[in-house]
């Protein structure tokens, strides 16, 4: 198969869940295989169990010979807004600057993280994201040993935002990526992101939904016009219902198939 038209695998890696979707490339990508793996573990801080499960899954030849777009759960990602500095001249200096900014927030643990920054026009703030280097070093060889080529590694908040952006306003709104164990939120304007937060949350959804509603009220206090757009699995949306009119729960349109898991998230990156 021509490298230009290699199949692509969307891969979502979270502490308790691995989701894969294989897309056959062409003018219109077609979903040809899906796999949803529940990882039985209580150690959500550790990624070993998830990667072990992924390694077993990738033994199946149905997942070989493709490019991979990987999404890392927000559970393992940290974000920060890095102000623009004219004193920085290249990408390496901007990453180093972002690392210093994140160290001020998160401490010395940043030295164990891989940091990257978003593309931004001169004068605009950049979004910095950090993922444990050990996680990336562990997962890359697992994937690449099966004739798979990693083309993209994105944190969940970024992938979800880009996936839903056609349903988001041009600016002045909050985008929230909600998943089992994590909540990440960003406020965006028409030109940049100016605030980003991520927290680990528990499994008591009554409490977490109230926390989300509190967050929404705080967001609207700052600016009455700021709406909150939430990306979440269907089961969380079903629990939340439509009790709070301040939230826009992002969901597939009626013509699209709805799934209980994160397949829609993977499929949207090809939309």
């Amino acid at each position: 198969m021509s490298p230009l038209w290699r199949d692509e695998i969307g891969l979502f890696v979270a502490p308790t869940r691995i989701v894969l979707a294989r897309m056959k490339r062409g003018i219109q990508p077609v979903n040809v295989a899906e796999r949803n793996i529940i990882v039985a573990t209580r150690e959500t801080h550790s990624w070993e169990a998830a990667i072990d499960a992924l390694e077993v899954c990738l033994e199946d030849s149905a997942w070989h010979g493709a490019n991979v777009r990987m999404i890392i759960a927000d559970h393992w990602a940290r974000y920060s807004i890095v102000p623009w500095s004219d004193a920085l001249s290249d990408e390496a200096e901007r990453v180093q600057h972002a690392r210093l900014c994140m160290a001020n927030t998160f401490g010395d643990v940043v030295s164990q993280w891989t940091v990257t920054v978003s593309d931004a026009p001169p004068g605009s703030s950049q979004v910095a994201c950090a993922i444990p280097t050990a996680l990336l070093d562990r997962i890359r060889p697992v994937i690449e040993s099966h004739d798979l080529k990693i083309k993209s590694v994105q944190p969940q908040l970024i992938a979800a935002f880009n996936g839903w952006r056609d349903k988001l306003p041009r600016g002045d709104a909050w985008f929230v990526a909600l998943d089992e164990g994590s909540l990440a939120a960003a406020h965006f304007t028409s030109t940049e992101w100016d605030c980003v937060r991520s927290v680990r949350i528990g499994t008591d959804w009554e409490i977490e939904l109230k926390r989300l509603q509190t967050f929404g009220r705080l967001a609207r206090t700052g600016n009455e016009e700021s709406r909150v757009y939430v990306d979440a699995p269907k089961w969380i949306r079903d629990r939340a219902g439509n009790a709070d009119p301040g939230f826009e729960w992002l969901a597939q349109t009626s013509g699209e198939a709805e799934s209980e898991d994160r397949f829609p998230l993977l499929q949207r990156i090809y939309a």
């Binding site: 970024i158 880009n162 988001l168 041009r170």
Partner: protein, 174 residues
């Protein structure tokens, strides 16, 4: 109206444009090649047209040159002679002869375009007829002040006609 995408990736991005970039590059290259071919074809066509134009101008200059090459002192009389209103003059001489019942025969016409003069040699049955002919020519549109220069009676001829010569101003612009 959709939100601006945020480009953030831990996988180092290739500096080239990916598949779309390759396609755009191919299309751009194809367009550039097509434009180059068309430019070359148009350049060749233009060169051809310029050569044709040059040949036409050369031919035109040659024709003009052949006329211009004549010495002016020779060409001016020729042009003047060719441009003179001969038809009107001859018609009027014929009409005057006809008015005199055909008793006058024009033997020669000699123009002098530089001086706008004309000399006519004719023969009449008698002197009276010759003078009437000259008087008739005074009404001519193309001749002014016709005068009798000389005359002689041809005694050797049995009818003894009068041969006479007259001159007049020739109005070449009527």
């Amino acid at each position: 109206m959709s939100a601006q995408p945020l480009r953030l990736d831990f996988q180092s991005r290739p500096r080239y444009g990916g598949n779309r970039g390759a396609i755009v590059l191919l299309i751009g290259t194809a367009i550039a090649v097509a434009a180059g071919i068309q430019f070359h074809a148009l350049s060749m066509k233009r060169e051809g047209l310029e050569l044709k134009l040059e040949a036409l101008e050369s031919a035109r200059n040659l024709k003009l040159g052949s006329v211009a090459a004549l010495p002016s002192e020779e060409s001016v009389p020729v042009v003047n002679v060719l441009g003179a209103p001969w038809e009107i003059l001859l018609q009027e001489l014929e009409a005057a002869s006809h008015d005199e019942a055909g008793d006058v025969a024009v033997l020669g016409v000699e123009p002098d375009r530089e001086k706008s003069r004309i000399r006519i040699v004719a023969e009449a049955r008698n002197l009276h007829t010759a003078l009437a002919y000259i008087e008739r020519l005074q009404k001519s549109r193309s001749l002014r002040f016709p005068i009798l220069d000389s005359h002689e009676i041809r005694t050797e001829d049995r009818d003894q006609p009068v041969r006479f010569q007259l001159s007049a101003d020739w109005k070449t612009t009527i």
